[in-house]
Amino acid sequence: MKKGALIIGDFLGMILEFIPVIIVSIFILFVAFAFLNEKIDTHDIEVFMLSRDLLYSDSCLAFSDDYRVFPMHVDTKKLDDERLGSCFSKSSMGFRITLLDSQGREVKSAKSLTLKQEGYLTKGASVNYPVCKAVPEYKCSKRKELIVYHTENKIQSGFLVIEVVNRVS
C-alpha cells in the first residue's frame, strides 16, 4: 500500500514536471500553424494580370494593324462577350468590361460571367457589390484604366472599367 502510494506520487510528480513543457509545446505549435497557414491574398495581382492581358494582347482587346499591336489601345470591334470568354478564362473568376468615353458615358460593355457570378457583381449598385461583400468566399473589385479606343474612323481617349468577381477560398 505504501509502495503503491509512492508510485502514484511519482507519477503525479512527473506529470506536474511536464506541464510547462506541454504548455510551451502547444504554444509553439499554434504559432507555427498560424504562420504556415498565412493567407496569401492574390486577388489584386490577379485583377492586374487580367487587365494587362485584356489591354496588351491582340487576341483580347488590344488594337492592332498589319505591323504591330498597340498596348492600352482598345479596338471597340473586339469588345464582345464571345471574345472575352475565349481570351481569358479561369473558372473561379468572372468579369465585366465597360468602355467609357472621356466624359464618363458608357460606349460599350461586355462580360464573361456565369449566372451566379452576375448575381454577385451587381451592376450600377450605389454601394460596392453588397451581395459579394456578404459572402466571404468571394471577392469583388473594380479597376479603372485610362485607355485610347478606336472606333470605325476615330481615335478617342476614355476609360476601361474592369469589374471582377473571384472565388478566393
Binding site: 510528480g13 506536474l16 514536471e17 506541464i19 510547462p20 504548455i23 510551451v24 504554444f27 499554434f30 504559432v31 498560424a34 504562420f35 498565412e38 496569401i40 491574398d41 492574390t42 489584386d44 495581382i45 485583377v47 492586374f48 494587362r52 489591354l55 498597340f70 498596348p71 492600352m72 489601345h73 472621356s102 473589385s141 473594380k142 479597376r143 479603372k144 484604366e145 485610362l146 485607355i147 485610347v148 481615335i155 478617342q156 481617349s157 476609360f159
Partner: protein, 166 residues
C-alpha cells in the same frame, strides 16, 4: 529528487513560476496573433511592386488636338510654348480623373524634362509623402535629343490596402 522538492517541497516557487510562464505566453500570444508581429510582408503581393508603365503609355497616346496628334507626337516635335501649354492643360485634366487612394492626400505628378531642365512640371505633394507607381519613358525628339517623361503618385500615409486596385 531535487525536482520533486522544487514542486512539492517548495510550492511557493513552483506556482508563481507557472503563473509567470502563463503571463509570458499570453503576452507573446498577443504579440504574434493580435499584432501579427514577425509576419512576413513578402507573402502579400503588393500593388505598388507589380505595376507597369501602362498608365504612362495611355497618357502619351492621348489625342490633344483635332488632327489626332498625341501627347508623345507633340513632345517629339520640339514644340513651341503654346503647344506645351496645350499638352500641360490636357494632361492636368486627365490626371484629375486617375484613380487615387480614397480619403488620403494623394496626387498624380507628371514631369517632362530634357537635359535636366523641366519642360512640363505638374507637381503636387504633401510634406513627408512617399512616391508610388513610378513610371518612366524616354521619348526621342526631332533634334535627336531625349525627353524623359515621369509619372508617379505622391501619397502621404498610404498603406498597401489603399494602393490596391490603382
Amino acid at each position: 529528487m531535487l525536482a520533486k522538492k522544487a514542486m512539492f517541497g517548495m510550492p511557493f516557487l513552483f506556482w508563481p513560476s507557472m503563473l509567470l510562464l502563463l503571463i509570458i505566453l499570453i503576452f507573446y500570444s498577443f504579440v504574434f496573433f493580435g499584432l501579427g508581429a514577425a509576419k512576413s510582408p513578402d507573402v502579400v503581393a503588393k500593388a505598388s511592386d507589380y505595376s507597369d508603365s501602362g498608365k504612362l503609355i495611355a497618357l502619351l497616346s492621348f489625342p490633344v488636338d483635332d488632327s489626332g496628334r498625341t501627347v508623345s507626337d507633340v513632345l517629339s516635335s520640339n514644340p513651341k510654348e503654346d503647344k506645351i501649354k496645350l499638352v500641360e492643360k490636357q494632361v492636368r485634366l486627365l490626371l484629375l480623373q486617375f484613380e487615387k487612394p480614397k480619403d488620403k492626400n494623394a496626387f498624380w505628378n507628371f514631369v517632362v524634362s530634357a537635359d535636366s531642365k523641366e519642360i512640363i512640371s505638374i507637381r503636387e505633394s504633401s510634406i513627408g509623402a512617399d512616391r508610388f507607381f513610378e513610371q518612366e519613358i524616354y521619348l526621342p525628339s526631332k533634334d535627336k535629343s531625349l525627353f524623359k517623361v515621369n509619372l508617379f503618385l505622391n501619397c502621404f500615409g498610404c498603406s498597401e490596402e489603399d494602393l490596391s486596385g490603382i
